[in-house]
């Protein structure tokens, strides 16, 4: 973290023969907060955009609202042995998603988060039915994040509990239709590289869906980001994320992501963020599946608008 704002200097003093100089500089290290203020750790996992301040605590009274739109498409898939092949019958899958994410700092330790996604899915193939469209709200996520601890006010740990609530019924292309719960531990920190401020976030969560053969999943992500200028206006981040989903139901149901219950994948994404002001920022993200098992091989692009407001 390169910059600190020095705002006070109490000058020297001399005492007759016992001359000494006091040079106390009081400063508040501002970069840390400023960085977080303009930074949202953002990555994609499967076909969803995921927001997280990760291990960093949320300022009490701060409301963050982040609507985003994403486009996911895929025409190949990995089978249960990890062999990649095209969708049968020239199938092509695309999905446009709109997600509204909100986060609010309740107190120094607690923050509330909520996420409501809507998707419009389209599966095309060269046999009937040639075009299948499904749309609707998918799994809403609501949770509480707890600021666990820090190391020297540089590295932060948080624990987040999330409830997963399906906002649909009997529509396998939108999700399992089962309630779920997730517990996630996140670790974040700041640093510097090449005279630029950097940050990282590593998180691992275990999610359990409560239903017949409801999978238990390990969801993980790692993000590294850096600012591109001294004004914290431009930033770039790379992420690696993935899911290992385990279920007794090991069938390959379709190439539509997350309709299968026993699958795994690793995905990489690159994000560019631009801050228009302290309150408003825009993020563009592109992501690609790297490897998988029993799931589709997809690509995603997303655009997220960030609005932050302090109520206290």
């Amino acid at each position: 973290m390169g910059k600190n704002i020095i705002f006070m200097r109490a000058g020297g003093c001399a005492i007759s023969l016992h001359c000494f100089k006091i040079n106390i500089i009081m400063s508040l290290f501002k970069t840390f907060t400023r960085f977080l203020f303009l930074t949202l750790i953002l990555f994609v996992i499967s076909k969803n955009v995921v927001f997280a301040d990760g291990g960093f605590p949320v300022r009490p009274g701060r409301l963050l609202i982040a609507p985003s739109v994403s486009y996911f498409f895929s025409s190949t898939q990995w089978d249960s042995t990890g062999i990649k092949k095209p969708f049968p019958n020239g199938g092509k899958y695309s999905s446009v998603g709109v997600t509204l994410y909100a986060e609010y700092g309740i107190s120094r330790r607690f923050a509330a988060i909520a996420s409501v996604p809507y998707v419009y899915n389209n599966y095309m193939q060269n046999i009937a039915p040639r075009n299948t469209v499904t749309s609707g709200l998918t799994d809403m996520e609501t949770g509480i994040r707890y600021y666990l601890a820090n190391i020297d006010f540089v590295y932060y740990f948080s624990l987040q509990g999330t409830a997963v609530t399906p906002l649909y019924t009997n529509n396998a292309s939108l999700g399992y239709g089962e309630e779920g719960a997730e517990l996630k531990l996140a670790f974040s920190g700041t640093g510097s590289l090449f005279n630029r401020s950097t940050y990282f976030n590593a998180a691992d969560g275990v999610r359990q869906y409560f239903g017949t053969n409801g999978p238990i999943q390990n969801r993980y992500s790692g993000t590294f980001g850096m600012t591109l200028d001294d004004d914290f206006k431009n930033q770039l981040s790379v992420s690696l994320s993935g899911i290992n989903s385990f279920s007794d139901d090991k069938r390959f149901i379709s190439g539509i992501p997350e309709t299968n219950r026993n699958y795994s994948f690793i995905e990489a994404s690159l994000s560019y963020g631009y801050s228009f002001s302290h309150e408003i920022a825009l993020y563009a993200t592109g992501g690609k599946f790297l490897t998988g098992n029993n799931t589709s091989d997809g690509t995603i692009f997303s655009l997220a608008f960030i609005y932050r407001l302090d109520y206290r």
């Binding site: 005492i15 006091i22 040079n23 501002k30 907060t33 120094r108």
Partner: protein, 437 residues
């Protein structure tokens, strides 16, 4: 005769110059042809649990082998010899040798250590200091039984003084993003003290600011201070007798700390500490300032005032004291020149006044005695070679903080100052404490 004398003097001066030049070169580094020494403590902050250990590296860049000895002398802060040892050394031409020194010390405390090298063409001394189990350092002198009562009564006296706050915008001093105000208020004894408040200019008129109360070093004049942080207002206070608060007390720099030292009820620091409390009264009178987010910070006398204020006034939420002076005062004898020498001179000019009587006053103003009642998070910084706020004295203060979250940052090679690391930590901790994420 004069001519001969001139020649002799000239030769002498040239010799002196050459000798001096050689010495400077000797200390200059490891350039070819030079001899140099590097002492490396095996602890980043100079603190050891039981054995202080160092590596002394001697580099001989000259073409002549060097023989002689490397020795060390450990003394207490007061200069009492504790331990000494030496090794014979022989360094070949254009080579270097390293010598490890382990210095076992059982008694907790801080020690000075001088490493001397005396070889064929080079003599040098490197001065360092180290600490042994500093967390166990305590003072043998207790707090006066009526310490709290004394300060409660003083506080009552202040409370009976109407503050008559006056806040005047200094339009000419305003900056683009800050407004500057001159603050005037009545303090203990009816004295007027002044300070400057700077507030960020923000769009949201209901915005409340975290407050940093900055307290001055010894006879330091504080002016308005402003930064680029839109969340923090800064109040810099000039205590009585300092800066623009010299209406009544305006004494020579040396005399300030001696003013009425014979009477604890009239001693200048009694009023100065109340001035600081009055400043908090002012902060509480302002609706635009966050009353639950007040950080007080200062260095040297400012560090001392910071500890005293945070101890006596529980409205302070975070305390940052760098190189706080006047801790464990009775033990300062033989350890520091200032202010002890000045106090001795003063006592010698006052019939009937004794050092013991002065210490009886200073017991009520000893930073270590304030520390026991600190309850807010407290950051303390010290320099290991500080000759005004010696580390063992600062540690007595620090160890007396038993009721608050605390952190000490030690600067191994600094004197009466702190480094950037302290400032960074202070800002980060304060922001975490006040949830300014």
């Amino acid at each position: 005769m004069v001519s001969v004398l001139n020649k002799v003097l000239t030769v002498f001066c040239v010799l002196l110059l050459v000798t001096d030049t050689k010495h400077v070169f000797a200390q200059g580094g490891d350039k070819e042809g030079e001899i140099s020494a590097v002492l490396t403590p095996h602890s980043s902050d100079g603190i050891f649990s039981s054995t202080a250990s160092y590596t002394f590296e001697l580099k001989n860049g000259s073409g002549t082998p060097q023989t002689g000895k490397v020795s060390y002398l450990v003394t207490t802060e007061a200069g009492k010899k504790v331990k000494t040892d030496s090794v014979h050394v022989k360094i070949g031409a254009r080579s270097s040798e390293s010598y490890n020194f382990d210095i076992p010390i059982t008694k907790p405390g801080f020690y000075k250590v001088n490493f001397m090298v005396n070889v064929s063409d080079y003599d040098d001394t490197t001065r360092k200091a180290f600490g042994i189990k500093p967390e166990e350092i305590r003072s043998q002198y207790a707090k006066p039984a009526d310490f709290e009562t004394f300060w409660q009564n003083t506080r009552k006296e202040l409370d009976n003084t109407p503050p008559e706050f006056k806040m005047t915008e200094l339009v000419d001093s305003n900056k683009k993003n800050h407004k500057v105000y001159l603050i005037e208020m009545k303090s203990l004894g009816g004295l007027t003290v002044r300070g400057y408040l700077t507030e960020p200019v923000v769009k949201n008129k209901n915005r409340k600011f975290v407050v940093l109360l900055g307290l001055p070093g010894y006879q330091v004049t504080l002016g308005p201070m402003m930064g680029s942080d839109p969340e923090i207002a800064m109040f810099t206070l000039n205590i009585r007798g300092s800066g623009n608060s010299k209406d009544v007390i305006d004494v020579r720099r040396d005399s300030y700390i001696l003013l009425n030292i014979e009477d604890k009820n009239k001693y200048v620091l009694r009023g100065a500490i109340m001035d600081c409390i009055r400043a908090v009264d002012f902060i509480y009178s302002r609706p635009e300032l966050k009353h639950e987010n007040i950080i007080v910070a200062g260095g040297s006398l400012g560090g001392y005032l910071t500890v005293a204020l945070a101890s006596l006034d529980k409205r302070i939420n975070f305390c940052s004291a760098a190189n706080p002076i006047l801790s464990d005062v009775r033990n300062l004898e033989h350890e520091v020149d200032w202010p002890i020498d000045d106090i001795h001179k003063y006592v010698n000019t006052r019939p009937g006044l004794t050092m013991d009587k002065v210490y009886s006053t200073l017991d009520y103003f000893d930073a270590k005695n304030f520390a026991t009642d600190l309850k807010c998070p407290t950051l303390v910084g010290l320099g290991l070679v500080d000759h005004i706020a010696p580390p063992n004295h600062v540690y007595v203060l620090y160890n007396n903080i038993t009721q608050a979250q605390k952190h000490m940052i030690i600067f191994r090679d600094l004197g009466h100052e702190i480094g950037k690391k302290y400032n960074i930590y202070e800002g980060r901790w304060m922001r975490d404490q006040f949830a300014l994420f």
